[in-house]
């Protein structure tokens, strides 16, 4: 080994957004002993905002670090911003609901911030190891916050999440190992180059590795049949945790999938075919399962599963159309899911159940919340003028243009089923009802702020989609997902 020692390419600038959130996490961990919990939350929020600012300054920079292991390209930045947005909304919701949810430990904020750090790492990743680290940091923190509430439900949820997550991680790691075996590299660019034209010696190994990766990611984003943890965890964990898991974590996992499958593995056969089957299964299972739910939180969990199917649809498309579609949809999905769950969080009296029956006549008790919830649900159902429509449309278009016509039609039919279960609660709210208010009566301004962000977001982005889509529409940034 006579290779001269080469100093690692450590550019700090691209690291900045992640470092800031990490600092926030550490601060939360340490200061938790001295400051009240709300102060910690504020500090976390500030660090999120700062991280966001740093991302904005990095925009169009295309910087990389660690020899390409970390890349702050526009893909990473746009997804990173979505993650920050989701996290911010989570923090806003927890700011006043955490106490009610028996979650008001500084550790909660700390773990949340660690998770955010992990998610950002996934988005910024340039090789499989970085991605894996991010994924594990995110998952491990996720297990903790899912369990943190001192209740049997949360514990059960956490346990399930943890055990299944560990299995999923194991599958994923094994997949990484096989891909490494087939290509001899762990970096996205390397894999992409090695697989170009399928010159790899052991295609079988590569395909199996890719499929195992798909299964591992399938768990993280909740594709059927790897989705089964979702309803139990989202439904069992506190609402704010469910909010975080179903938005930020899912966004990050999709970012990983985008990097790995849209970038590194774009030439590898087989995974697209399998993904198609999984998407169909996901759409069917998610939508049908949701039809039979009476607990609104579980309903939203199944809805998250169903949306996974729609989101993955964009992944099937060519990266040039699928990438921006996925990003836009992720943003919208984050806004509307977070908005919905924020309303739930604001109104629920207990964490256990917010049933459809509770929603009857909500409009006459809390008109603003009801309208906000209706907007979010309408958006989830894909009704214009709300942004959910644009997301769905983009996903359909991406899949359609990649030739998956049949799949698009199935997805469209799934949307019809989706409409039914979104519509039922949405319309129940407007049906006159004379029972007295059952909602939590206290102060909840920050949660309301999160709701406002969600509602305004889906409305504005629905009417003027170009505000967000225009930023990511440039196909050039999506053809080099793996890095240069």
């Amino acid at each position: 080994m006579n290779t001269p020692l080469i100093l690692p390419d450590v550019a700090l600038a691209p690291l900045l957004p992640i470092a800031i959130t990490l600092l926030g996490a550490i601060a939360a961990t340490l200061l938790g002993f001295f400051l009240p919990r709300r102060a910690i939350t504020l500090i976390s929020m500030v660090s999120l905002v700062l991280s966001g600012v740093s991302m904005v300054t990095l925009w169009n920079g295309g910087l990389t670090s660690f020899g390409g292991s970390l890349q702050a390209d526009n893909v990473a930045l746009s997804i990173g911003l979505i993650i920050l947005l989701g996290s911010l909304m989570t923090l806003l919701v927890t700011y006043d609901s955490a106490a009610r949810a028996k979650l008001a430990f500084p550790e909660f904020d700390a773990m949340l911030m660690y998770a955010v750090t992990g998610t950002l790492l996934i988005a910024f990743s340039g090789d499989l190891v970085t991605m894996l680290i991010g994924l594990e940091v995110m998952s491990l923190s996720g297990y903790v916050i899912a369990t943190l509430q001192d209740s049997r439900r949360a514990e059960e949820a956490g346990m399930k999440y943890f055990l299944l997550g560990a299995v999923g991680s194991a599958i994923l790691i094994y997949g990484i190992a096989l891909v490494y075996g087939a290509t001899g590299t762990l970096s996205y660019v390397g894999i992409r180059d090695a697989t170009a034209g399928l010159q790899v010696q052991n295609v079988g190994l590569l395909v199996v590795g890719a499929l195992l990766l798909l299964c591992g990611f399938g768990f993280k984003v909740a594709l059927a049949p790897f989705h089964q943890w979702t309803p139990d965890v989202y439904g069992g964990a506190p609402t704010s945790v469910g909010l975080f898991l179903s938005t930020v974590v899912k966004v990050a996992a999709f970012a990983g999938m985008l990097r790995v499958f849209g970038g590194a593995m774009q030439n590898v056969p087989a995974w697209a075919g399998v993904l198609q089957v999984l998407i169909v299964a996901t759409i069917v299972v998610g939508n049908l399962g949701a039809l039979f739910q009476t607990n609104f939180k579980r309903l939203m969990a199944y809805s998250a599963v169903a949306h996974t199917g729609f989101l993955a649809l964009a992944l099937l498309g060519n990266p040039a159309t699928g990438g921006p579609a996925l990003t836009y949809y992720l943003l919208v999905y984050t806004l509307m899911t977070a908005g919905t769950l924020a309303v739930v969080s604001a109104l629920q009296r207990t964490e256990a159940a917010f049933t459809l029956d509770d929603m009857r006549g909500l409009f006459y008790r809390h008109p603003a919340y009801a309208v906000a919830l209706a907007v979010c649900l309408g958006s989830l159902a894909g009704l214009p003028p709300f942004a959910g429509f644009m997301g769905k449309y983009l996903a359909f278009q991406a899949a359609f243009q990649a030739g998956y016509v049949g799949l698009t039609i199935i997805a469209a039919m799934g949307s019809v089923a989706a409409l039914i279960y979104y519509l039922r609660p949405a319309m129940l709210m407007f049906m006159p009802d004379r029972t007295p208010a059952r909602e939590y009566p206290g102060e909840r301004t920050p949660t309301t702020a999160a709701v406002v962000i969600g509602v305004v977001g889906v409305t504005v982005l629905g009417i003027l989609p170009n505000l967000a889509y225009g930023l990511v529409a440039n196909p050039a940034i999506w053809t080099v997902l793996a890095g240069r």
Binding site: L128, V129, L132, I133, E136, L140, Y143, V144, T147, R152, R153, E155, E156, A157, G158, M159, K160, F162, L163, A166, V167, S169, A170, I171, I173, Y174, I176, A177, L178, Y180, G181, G184, T185, L186, P231, D232, G235, G236, F292, Q293, R298
Partner: protein
Amino acid sequence: MESVPTSYYIALSGILFALGMIGVLTRRTAIMVFLSVELMLNAANLSLVAFARAWGDLVGQTAVFIVMTLAAAEVAIGLAIIVAIFRKRETTNVDDLASLKG
């Protein structure tokens, strides 16, 4: 130097992984389930090193360290969760955790 072919390692790792899977499915105790998962991780580690040797590349080996670290972290968190549950329920049988369903 006569060396063991890479495929042997891979076969062994595959067997270990399968054993881990079977363990996950058959054991009821959370701890045992968890240990089976560790077995799966180690199967992955084994193939990583094997491949690293085959490619003559160090990246795979470093990856193994990272995976081991992750596994350790996972153990920490997992045990904490298990303990928390055991304290409340006095059981680690995962089949007792089935109130969230449907």
